[in-house]
Every structure is written in C-alpha cells, then in structure tokens.
C-alpha cells in the first residue's frame, strides 16, 4: 500500500469509517501476526496480540503522527504487547516441546546439507530466546522481519548506535549458538 493511500485510509478511519479501517487491518495484519508469532510462537496468543494491537490502534488513531509510517507504530504496539505477554508468565512451558525439535536432535552433529529449513528456523528462534530483551527485539525486527535500520530505531525509540550494538551482540550469540549446535564450522 502506498503512503498516500494509507494516509487517506487513516484519515477516513479517524472519522469513524470502519470500512477504511478494515482495509488497513487487511493490509497490515500479516506483518503484525508474523511479528507476534516470532516472539510468542503460539498461534492463539499471536492472534490475541494482533487483535489487541488493532483495537489499540483504532482507539488512538487520532494521535497518529503522519511523520512515521503506520507499520512502525503497529510494530511498536505489537512488540510491547508481545513483551508484556512474555513477561506475564502466561507463556506455556509446553511450547518448547511442541514447536521445537527434540533436544537430542539439536545437539547431534548434523551435516550442513541436512539443515532442514523448519529445523533451522526452530533453532534460530530458540537461540533468539536466550538473548536479552533488547537484543531479541532488535534481532527479530531487523533480521527476521527485515525492517530497515531507521524503522527499527523509530519503532524502539533507539539511537542508531544503540541499535547497532544490540544487533552486534544478537548476531554474535546466534552465530556462536549455531556453530555450537552444528559443530562443523559453517565455512
């Protein structure tokens, strides 16, 4: 969706046009769900977070700052809700058993061409769980959701230097983790 159409839909939504807001929901809910799922890795919880995020967006739409894209604001809401969820302890312990390969599977020495994409995804997300909160958020937004550096800084209200520092530590830990798991060096 181009910025002009988006802004037009936002203005209509502020005036109470539900149909315009539906279009915004339809075009952004994929990103919101994806982001929530990267944090929670639970379908139901991710859907709940997305719903809550859009309701918050609707209620506060009149305070929208046209300087930023709606995507940035939405990412901020979803990120905060996801972190609240993770801190609240509602996160089920069974999740790790359901969504990840067995520990023995991760620990075994595997050859590079054995790397199944699902398995790799699970391992990377598991490693991301061990990062600090800021490192995790920066890593998910920048590397997994492929937001630009500027968008990440805007979303997290972080300086570029702070963002780079968190990203460095996150990538370092992920690389070291992957190397430990696959034992054989990537090169």
């Amino acid at each position: 969706m181009d910025p002009e159409t988006e802004l037009n839909l936002i203005r209509k939504s502020i005036d109470g046009d539900h149909q315009a807001f539906r279009q915004l929901v339809e075009s952004h809910q994929g990103l919101a769900y994806s982001l929530a799922y990267r944090f929670t890795r639970e379908e139901k919880e991710s859907e709940d977070i997305v719903q809550e995020a859009f309701v918050k967006l609707w209620k506060n739409l009149s305070r929208y700052n046209a300087q930023y894209r709606l995507k940035t604001w939405l990412c901020k809401i979803v990120t905060n809700l996801s972190l609240d969820y993770l801190k609240s302890g509602r996160k089920k312990k069974v999740m790790s058993e359901n969504n990840f390969p067995a520990k023995s599977m991760i620990e075994r020495v595997v050859h590079e061409d054995e790397l199944e994409s699902e398995e790799l995804k699970s391992i990377v997300l598991r490693l991301a769980e061990q990062l600090t909160e800021k490192q995790k958020v920066v890593f998910i937004l920048r590397d997994l959701e492929t937001l630009s550096s500027e968008e990440v800084c805007q979303t997290l209200e972080m300086t570029p230097g702070n963002m780079k520092s968190n990203l460095y530590h996150a990538r370092l830990k992920i690389k070291d983790g992957l190397q430990k798991i696959y034992k054989t060096k990537l090169i």
Binding site: F21, E26, G30, Y33, Q51, V55, D143, R171, I174
Partner: protein
C-alpha cells in the same frame, strides 16, 4: 585500529555507512582472520535471511479480520453503558435518588416502629402487594394516631405538669 575494533562492524556490515564500509573493506583485504570471520558472519546471515523470507501468515486471516472489526464495533455499546452511568452520576439524578431513598427510609422506619409485626407479615407477599398493603396500613395508622391526638388534645396544656397530662389521659380512657 586493531582487529577487535573492526569486529562490531563485521557483524553489522549492512548497517554501516559508506565511509565505514570502505574502511572495513580496506582492512579485510589485508587481514586474513577478519576476512574469515566476515565470511562466517555473512554465511550465518544468509541462513537467517532464509528464515526471514519464509513469511509467517495467520492461519485464519479472514476470521482474524472479522474478530478485530467486531471488537472495534463494541465501544459503541460501551458508550451507551457509559452514558447510563454518567446519567446516574449526574447531580440532578443524585438529588432525585437521595430524595426518593430518604422518603422510602422514612416510610419504612415509620411503619416498622409503629407496628413491626404488621410490616413483617407484609414481607411475605409479593412486592406489589406489600407496597399496597403497607400504604394501606400507613393510612390506617395515621388516622388512628390523628383520632388519639384529637381525643387527648384538651389534656395538653403548656401551663400544666406532665402528671396532670397523665391523669387526664387515664380519666379519658376510663
């Protein structure tokens, strides 16, 4: 600059400015260990990019949109509820409700202290019946009191003692 100083830039190569990149590129041409690290990082990033390319899609997108839209429609209902609360909390309704409750409390006390047995009996029937019955009893009691008051009216005198009043009442009752 030492190799350690370049480490952070190796990990954050895509985030570097053009100037920082050219500095790092120049160092990588002369430093084998940094070049190895750079290649390792790039390879890890390629794996992560593979994951990023696999977009996570909501399994029930239409249902999700529907539930968001229905949640958004709810506030209008809540606004009606809020309107009711606002009305109840307004000054005018506060005065009206406090006046009504005082009247009801007065009627209740009057009835109860006048003849508690009758009041309790009325509680057994339905609300409407008890209201009618209580109103009737109230009227009867009121007229009985009025009669008594007129009967003993001439006994009352500001110039006589209480003893005189009691003796007068006793004589009238006899």
């Amino acid at each position: 600059m030492s190799c350690k100083d370049y480490e952070q830039n190796i990990y954050t190569y895509p985030e570097l400015s053009a100037k920082e990149r050219s500095h790092l590129d120049a160092h990588l041409q002369n430093c084998r260990s940094c070049l190895t690290l750079f290649q390792e990082v790039q390879q890890t990033q390629q794996l992560i990019n593979q994951i990023a390319e696999e977009k996570v899609i909501p399994p029930h997108a239409a249902r999700l949109t529907g539930s968001i839209m229905s949640k958004i429609a709810q506030p209008s209902k809540r606004a009606f509820g809020e309107w009711i609360i606002e009305l109840l909390l307004s000054k005018r309704s506060k005065f009206a409700l406090s006046g009504l409750s005082s009247v009801l409390l007065f009627v209740f006390c009057f009835q109860f202290f006048d003849d508690p047995a009758q009041f309790k009996a009325s509680q057994a029937s339905s609300l409407t019946n008890s209201v009618i019955l209580n109103a009737k009893l109230f009227r009867e009691n009121f007229s009985r009191h009025k009669e008594k008051r007129t009967l003993f009216a001439d006994c009352r005198s500001p110039f006589q003692s209480n003893q005189y009043y009691l003796n007068c009442v006793k004589t009238k009752l006899k």
